[in-house]
Symmetry: C2
């Protein structure tokens, strides 16, 4: 793996795992008022389209990172609906 690939890998890992502390925070506080529902919906559709893009261009990392992010956004969406 060269430096450019490594930077892409770390970038993808960071933008994916970033939502883990947000899921924990929503789950712990049982409060999601300050989270924007529009953000979750737009971002959710965005990462699904990124996963399609990865599928069509044959990029496993793009598919994997975006599907994991999608699951985390789906969890946040569920928490947002439950604790609105």
């Amino acid at each position: 793996m060269d430096t450019i690939e490594l930077v892409g890998f770390v970038a993808g890992a960071l933008t994916t795992i970033a939502f883990i502390p947000q899921v924990f925070r929503a789950w712990k506080l049982k409060e999601t008022r300050d989270l924007s529902l529009a953000m979750l919906v737009l971002f959710g559709f965005g990462v699904l389209l990124w996963a399609c893009y990865g599928f069509w261009t044959g990029s496993i990392p793009v598919i994997a990172a975006n599907l994991i992010t999608f699951v985390l956004i789906l969890l946040l969406f569920g928490l947002k609906i439950r604790y609105k």
Copy 2:
């Protein structure tokens, strides 16, 4: 622009503009308690690295989308610090 490029473009646009309603919500409510600071920091570093990756691979859309997202995350970070 073929279909795959178009899907990538729409995906990038969605995951970028998604943070606009979140900035507005934080600014309007003057409340950011439910927003995870760790999410903002991890995501901010992630999109900066994505912009570097775009720079090195010569992808203007990747640079543009991630720099715009970085500015929005920076605004949210400022609002999080101000209204914590």
